[in-house]
């Protein structure tokens, strides 16, 4: 299954990148993500709670291996997730481009195999849920971006590693691929 699309953030690319470094922001945007831990250089193991349409949410373990990182422009990754409700595996890439008027254009593309219950029973909602969740998640990030641009929120913690950013983006892509929610 190919999932691709783009999203425009109303803010500069570096700020978007930095914002995506903040796991608290992402936790709000992606309530399905429970943990994400760096277990090796460029490798992250995480836990999510995933459900699709009629498939009740189940625990989902995720491994993400990052590749070809060019901060703050792009990276790609190998995604491998499995749980009682199925699996997903494949590659995803995310690209951030400076756009007109100081905006940032995010392009994403994932080529993933989906299997098990998610594939068999969740198919009818994969597309629409995927679109809805991606939009929801990215809009939440964009809202946070707006509030920071207007100074309404504290500045992001700068001390986070770049891996958090990459891993967070991986989660974005993974959510896109898994079409995640609603998180029940």
């Amino acid at each position: 299954m190919i999932v691709e699309g783009e999203f425009t953030f109303q803010g500069p690319r570096e700020m978007v990148w930095n914002l995506l470094q903040d796991p608290e922001v992402l936790a709000k945007a992606l309530p399905g993500a429970k943990t994400l831990t760096k277990t090796a250089e460029d490798r992250f193991d995480g836990a999510m709670q995933v459900g699709v349409g009629p498939v009740t949410a189940g625990a989902f373990s995720v491994t993400v291996v990052l590749k070809d990182q060019v901060a703050p422009e792009r990276f790609s990754m190998q995604v491998d997730g499995k749980g009682g409700i199925g699996f997903t595996r494949g590659t995803a890439s995310v690209e951030l481009r400076a756009a007109e008027g100081g905006d940032t254009l995010m392009k994403y593309r994932a080529d993933l195999q989906i299997g098990g219950k998610i594939a068999g029973v969740g198919q009818r909602v994969l597309d629409s849920a995927s679109r809805a969740m991606t939009k929801q998640g990215l809009e939440a990030v964009n809202r946070e971006l707006q509030s920071r641009l207007t100074g309404a929120a504290p500045a992001p913690a700068r001390s986070r590693t770049r891996y958090w950013a990459a891993a967070a983006l991986a989660l974005v892509a993974l959510t896109i691929a898994l079409c995640g929610g609603p998180w029940r």
Partner: protein, 794 residues
């Protein structure tokens, strides 16, 4: 009693909720089973760790392949291939639990036994499985391409079988033909979708040394025999009961499903009764499926539409294993010939392993594919030759004096394909009259003037039914005067409790309601095979008939002694024997039954106690049923929705035992055929993942999709059995797709589209309509020039 439609004996129990289905069996101390199944269609199994699951509350046991030890064995090959010269066949049968490799999504890896199903399913999530995904084989042609991933390593390729059968000399026929019609046809995969999923309950009584298995099987006796062999028990120690079964349609005769191997074994080890009931999602992976074939076929005809020969080369998808042998593709190969005179026939097929659930017969069992190919070729030939589609069929029918007709090739039961009897023209004429075929041109024009597009389709088919090897029956007159019949076939709604009762009631001249049939319990009767291939009425019915005749002889003999009359002077009526010339001298069956089982005195040599007899019937070969389906549809080219306005079936299943039951079988078969033709398709992605594993996405026809079917009976009795009957269980669904395609094309005749793929979903029809519109004038021009364009392979 034969030829009438009494109320069904089984209905009271079914209507009030008293009828026992497998899931209704409740035993003290019963544990529940759930299976962990592969999410991958093709993957190497590296490791399974069930330790965490084993420690969960309520979990009694978890088994993986290694836990089975020597009990882990691939299942038996159920149907060895017929002795066709030059045939290649590679057997690869299913295994109880994945040991080295998962070969289709849903293949079981581990079995959890717990105090209830909820806890068993909870535990599944705690089994850690390490699977290394492999590239999956999904497409039939890609499966045979060089370099394709190989599913069964020991075979070296994905070729399961290669079979060639010839009749006459097709090459010469082709050379003489005025026209050769060549097309590619596809028939995609579907599910039987019985509303009751599979299931079983197993109970090992250690004190009695008896294993009891309640199973939703169509074949309880072979299941018992196989289980005894696998478990090292006497056959008499195993009792298999197929109680009421909620629809079979073929997959419930497949054996041995992994669950059928595992639950009896585990029940004996754990000394607790076990229950497993398949859920609907599992059913889409764990129960066998059918239908995927690709045919490259051609028809050689004269300019007046006479068939000179047919060539058909096809691929058949057997899924991950080929346990059921070649039954389905040989059915396709043989049934293609239909009711027609085909002097020259070249047929070749390859059976292909793919990473999809196992394929075994589903109602029709490949016959519909052959019918679809032949009927479509005739339709296209008629169009190109400017002949009426009905007329081209009429010109090619075998004549009534052509029987028995030997088609030279071998049928799936290893017997030569010989039609025992048939008379096809009357069915065609009856169908054309019933559907108003002669006036249909005017009706089509009238509808067209109103902006509606209607079309008619009329197709023919034959169906090989009632094959051997044999069935048996025991008929007993009890002291109450009630009659009991035991037979080995299972029953899944066909009405055996009534139709078999009618056969016996007819011989014994009693009311069918007084004949109590028991089927599907090996304790009651343990010789026979099962319910499949539209054979129960033919084979079990004939056995019941023979046993009833033997009981009738005993009744007459004993009554002759007691009433002091010769048997020839006696007659049976109303559950009693009477002297024809003096009806006051009579004895009831009950009284005779008591006298036949005396408490004192000796049973004389050469006689047996009781009014009971057992008999068997085994036909040399099947009896050939036939028929014509006519359909009228209205198609909306904007939405591609098809509405069925009329559906007429003229059916010849020989002598009809119960017209209402036959009508019901046909009506239900047509509904399934409509599903096959228009709605039902299992959709796989390129990794072998099923994309519509629920009734939300796999569309079984509802009451608003299925039309009223007008059924007409024509009776050409079979000479191969004493009742003259032929099978009817599958007839309704066999020609439906062909009729549907012809009618839709007719309704859209100005588009000149051709329907070569089934199912024809509204989406696919929409695409065909749009493509035809785009082809537009060019297409029209090509049709004008005819020949070359028409004969080109698509």
């Amino acid at each position: 009693m034969i030829g009438r439609s009494p109320p069904r004996n089984e209905d009271a129990a079914l209507l009030t909720g008293r009828a026992l289905f497998v899931d209704d069996v409740h035993l003290e101390g019963m544990l529940h089973v759930a299976f962990l199944r592969s999410d991958h269609a093709h993957a190497r199994l590296i490791a399974v760790d069930a330790s965490s699951a084993r420690g969960r509350p309520g979990v009694v046991a978890v088994y993986t392949a290694v836990d089975l030890g020597d009990y882990w064995q691939p299942g038996p090959l159920l149907v060895p291939p017929p002795p066709i010269p030059g045939l290649t066949f590679h057997a690869a049968t299913q295994v109880p639990l994945v040991k080295d490799k998962a070969r289709h999504a849903g293949e079981p890896i581990a079995m959890v036994v717990a105090e209830n199903r909820y806890l068993a399913e909870d535990a599944l999530e705690h089994i850690v499985v390490d699977l290394e995904p492999l590239d999956a084989v999904v497409d039939l042609e890609a499966a045979l391409a060089p370099g394709a991933p190989v599913i069964h390593q020991q075979l070296g390729s994905n070729l399961a079988a290669h079979v060639v059968q010839h009749k006459g000399d097709y090459r010469q026929a082709r050379a003489q033909a005025d026209r050769v019609i060549a097309r590619r046809f596809r028939y995609d995969r579907g599910a039987a979708a019985a509303i009751e999923n599979r299931g079983l309950v197993t109970h090992w009584d250690a004190r009695a040394g008896e294993l009891t298995v309640w199973d939703t099987t169509q074949a309880p006796i072979p299941l018992r025999n196989g289980l005894a062999r696998m478990l090292g028990l006497l056959e008499s120690q195993v009792r298999v009961i197929a109680p009421f079964v909620g629809g079979g349609f073929g997959p419930k005769i497949m054996m041995f499903y992994p669950e059928e191997v595992l639950l009896p074994w585990a029940a004996m080890r754990l000394r607790r009764p076990l229950k497993w009931i398949e859920d609907r999602q599992e059913n889409f992976y764990a129960t066998s499926q059918e239908r995927e074939q690709i045919h490259d076929a051609e028809l050689a005809v004269t300019k007046d539409g006479r068939i000179l020969g047919v060539r058909d080369i096809f691929l058949h998808d057997t899924g991950a294993y080929d346990t059921y042998g070649l039954t389905i593709p040989i059915n396709s190969q043989c049934t293609l010939l239909g009711p027609y005179q085909v002097a020259n026939y070249d047929s070749e097929f390859k059976v292909v392993f793919t990473n999809k659930p196992i394929v075994t017969p589903v109602r029709g069992a490949g016959r519909q594919h052959g019918v679809f190919v032949m009927e479509r070729l005739l339709d296209i030939a008629a169009r190109e030759l400017k002949l009426d589609p009905v007329e081209i069929r009429r010109r090619n029918y075998l004549s009534p004096d052509a029987f028995p007709h030997d088609h030279v090739i071998l049928f799936q039961d290893s017997a030569p394909l010989v039609y025992d009897s048939g008379n096809y023209r009357p069915a065609l004429e009856r169908a054309t009259a019933a559907v108003g075929y002669d006036g249909f041109q005017a009706e089509r024009a009238r509808a067209r003037a109103e902006g509606r597009r209607v079309g008619v389709g009329i197709v023919s088919y034959v169906e090989g039914t009632g094959i051997g090897p044999y069935e048996g029956a025991r008929v007993t007159v009890e002291p109450s005067g009630e009659v009991r019949v035991a037979t080995g076939v299972g029953t899944q709604g066909q009405g055996h409790f009534t139709t078999l009762a009618q056969v016996v009631a007819d011989v014994l001249a009693v009311d069918a309601a007084r004949v109590h049939v028991v089927t599907g319990d090996t304790r009651e009767f343990h010789w026979g095979t099962g319910t499949f291939a539209s054979r129960s009425a033919v084979v079990a019915g004939s056995a019941c008939h023979a046993a009833a005749l033997a009981v009738r002889d005993k009744i007459l003999k004993l009554a002759g002694l007691l009433l002091e009359a010769l048997p020839a002077e006696l007659e049976l009526a109303g559950g009693a024997v009477q002297v024809k010339s003096d009806r006051g001298r009579s004895m009831s069956f009950g009284e005779l039954a008591v006298r036949a089982n005396p408490l004192r005195g000796a049973v004389r040599p050469g006689t047996e106690p009781g009014l009971e007899a057992t008999a068997y019937f085994g036909p040399d070969r099947g009896s050939t049923a036939s028929g014509v389906h006519a359909i009228v549809v209205e198609v909306d080219p904007e939405t591609a929705m098809v509405k069925i306005l009329r559906y007429v079936v003229v059916h010849d299943c020989g002598r009809v035992i119960n017209p209402v039951v036959v009508q019901g079988q046909i009506q239900g078969g047509v509904a399934q055929g409509i599903g096959n033709a228009f709605y039902e398709q299992l959709v796989w992605d390129t990794n072998g993942q099923l994309k519509n594993a629920s009734f939300m996405d796999y569309l079984v026809p509802t009451a608003t999709d299925v039309p009223k079917v007008e059924t007409h009976h024509i009776e050409t009795p079979s000479p191969l059995n004493p009742l003259g009957v032929k099978g009817v269980g599958e007839a309704g669904c066999i020609p439906t797709a062909a009729a549907f395609a012809q009618a839709v094309e007719d309704a859209l005749s100005e588009y000149g589209l051709e329907i070569c793929d089934i199912p024809l979903s509204p989406n696919r029809l929409f695409e065909l309509i749009r493509a035809a519109e785009a082809a537009g004038a060019a297409g029209a021009a090509a049709r004008q020039t005819g020949g070359a364009a028409g004969a080109a392979k698509r």
